[in-house]
């Protein structure tokens, strides 16, 4: 057990999971000088521990307050408003923690046992398969969102439209950029998500959550769903975690939408999405380790760090690394289970103030994220302008489920890329 990088990963993942908008990339950049002193194995353990723990922690503010600590917690945010009793909150917390644990452990176990066959995952990177997966997810999300179908379709189209703004690198053409260079990169991801999803959800939860504001949920019992469903959501999460760019976000959204066909119970839906995103938290690492391909920005940073240490795929002993990872992540998952379940009583003190005060602080925090990201990218004014324009729209959308819009916004580039390629593959 490499406890030192694992512990560092647990701490970093906790910060990443608790604070909305502070992702793994930003944290790794802040820790960059320090991370340079770690070996390849330590770096991979650190990264996988951070990715795992952020998924565990992210579910707590999402369940208690409807705040997406992690970007993959959006389905949990949606369902949290439907938790009407203290028991349901307790069940959702313990069930998510346990489901995440089981999901994470199943993936580790399977990867350990099937390490010689992991290379076969390359066949999942097929244009046909990815296109089918994304189209199916769009259909599922429209049908199961709880909105009228026409509303969901409109939201989906709006999401695709917003995401299309910018420079289309496929055809080298600007779309709705009006010669404004900022618009060439498209609308800032975090601003769209905050204005059109996070803030509407907070506003939606403002009244609902006050019913259970004492947070006196019971952590004494574990809520367990049918093991077959747990395995099923794990597989969904694992596969979706391999999709470049969307990874755990797609894992949780896909599992959430599929769960909507089986149950109307918000607790079970939350557990489905949280189980899946933990399974995806490990699988997102596999393309990097197997093929040297980073599929999210924080992985590019990780790849750079491990290449400095002499990482070469052909001379890389995957079996010993998977063994090492499995042992470490098993312990990290146990830590995650305890943080997200019994210790959530303490984690929640992070938020134990008057609910309105908490929501005000969180909205302020979200605004600060917009400003900070704007500052980091020399786009402070631009971010503020987009925020100012989108915020009233988010306010107007506070009574609908905006997940179709956000989902379309997130997957647009990947879907278009695959759709444009499809005729050349068939």
């Amino acid at each position: 057990m490499l406890w030192y990088p694992a512990l560092l990963g647990v701490l970093a993942g906790s910060v990443s999971g608790l604070i909305p908008g502070v992702g793994n990339f930003v944290l790794m950049l802040l820790l960059y000088p320090f991370l340079g002193s770690l070996s390849i194995n330590e770096l991979i353990i650190f990264y996988s521990s951070m990715a795992t723990i952020s998924q565990y922690i992210g579910s707590i503010p999402a369940t208690l307050y409807g705040i997406p600590g992690e970007s993959s917690s959006y389905p949990t945010v949606l369902e949290s408003s439907k938790l009407s009793t203290v028991k349901q909150v307790g069940d959702a917390i313990s069930g998510s923690a346990f489901g995440s644990f089981i999901g994470g452990v199943i993936v580790l176990l399977l990867c350990y046992l099937l390490v010689d066959y992991l290379e076969l995952l390359k066949y999942l990177y097929s244009t046909k398969l990815l296109t089918s997966l994304l189209v199916l997810a769009c259909i599922a999300i429209c049908v199961s969102s709880g909105n009228k179908l026409t509303t969901s379709l409109l939201l989906l189209i709006t999401g695709f439209s917003l995401a299309s703004i910018g420079y289309n690198s496929h055809y080298s053409v600007p779309i709705l950029t009006f010669n404004n260079m900022y618009l060439y990169a498209g609308l800032p991801f975090e601003v769209v998500l905050i204005c059109l999803f996070a803030i509407p959800q907070i506003l939606q939860n403002w009244d609902t959550k006050s019913k259970i504001s004492n947070l006196a949920y019971n952590i004494g019992t574990i809520y367990i769903i049918n093991p077959i469903y747990t395995c099923f959501y794990t597989v969904i999460g694992f596969i979706c975690g391999l999709v470049p760019g969307v990874t755990t976000i797609l894992s949780s959204i896909a599992a959430y939408n599929i769960s909507a066909y089986f149950t109307k119970d918000p607790v079970k839906r939350i557990i489905a999405s949280e189980t899946a995103n933990n399974a995806g938290a490990f699988s997102l690492l596999l393309p990097l380790l197997l093929f040297g391909v980073p599929i999210i920005a924080s992985e590019a940073l990780l790849l750079n760090l491990i290449e400095q240490k002499g990482f070469v795929i052909s001379s890389f002993d995957l079996r010993s690394l998977v063994t090492l990872l499995s042992i470490n992540l098993l312990i990290v998952n146990i830590i995650g289970l305890f943080i997200a379940w019994p210790l959530s009583k303490y984690v929640k003190y992070f938020y134990t103030f008057n609910l309105n005060t908490i929501f005000s602080i969180l909205i302020t925090l979200l605004v600060a994220v917009v400003l900070y990201n704007g500052y980091l990218n020399y786009s402070l004014i631009y971010n503020l302008i987009v925020f100012t324009i989108l915020l009233p729209i988010g306010y107007m959308l506070r009574k609908v489920n905006t997940l179709p819009l956000i989902f379309a916004f997130i997957i647009n580039d990947k879907l278009i890329d695959n759709l444009l390629r499809l005729p050349h593959i068939l």
């Binding site: 390359k122 260079m181 060439y184 391909v293 400095q308 400003l371």
Partner: protein
Amino acid sequence: MKNTIMAVTAALMFSSAANSTELTILNSGSKTGSFSMTSIAYYTDVLKEYDQINLVNPGSRCVALGSLLPRISGPVLMPWASDYEADGRNGGCVTFDIAKGKLLRYNKEPVSVCQLKDTIDVINDSGKIGHTVPATGPLSKASGYINDSFGTKHTNVVYDGQGDTRLALLSGEIDYALLTKEHAAYVVENGGTCNYDMSDDSDKSLHVIDPSNPNLVFSFDNVWLALNMTDAEADSLKAILMAKHDDCNSASAKYTGCGSLLDIVWSITDEEGLSSWELAVESQR
């Protein structure tokens, strides 16, 4: 409201801190591509050489050059590529006159033709050739040039980045992939081969097989520029980067296989660089 004011104040404080940055590395490429990887490597390597260093990675050349660069008043280290410039001159979002900066390094990256199956040959067997975006860019013409020379009927399949192209090759979705040397090395590590390239003089060169077709010579020319710097500052940075590339334990050298994957020219004059650059850009338009 009070909280909002505090958040705004904090952000403004951060903004004022940004003014003291002594070197900004501005990546003009994608967030996961080779420019990004090199930018991160340089960030690591020169971290201790500067009091404050800032890595800006917008993931879009349009934003990097169109909106961010004009706002950065301090010293900047930035990469720029001939295919980006060619795209810009063809009506794309940005062009950049490299003569405005001080040329620190120049490298040509000839494209390799890689494959996984050992039963096919790109000059004899038609198939799907994968390459990176744009769909109408210079690489899309490369397969046409191969068809012209060897009578094949290859078709193009376009991917968003060389990483995706590699994966497609490994999964069998395409038969051949046009990749630069760093990416070709990964294919070889995964059991593939890169039997041909589009350089003008190597023993694998398609142009050597068919010298009558000048279009079979194709390379991405990349420059790294020092902007907003005095000659002394630029020379100092160049010396640091050269030393780092010579040190096989540095991040920069690791990324380039300690020089084996990339032939960087450091001694090129501005005039020579500009001349070579213009040839590359115009050939890719």
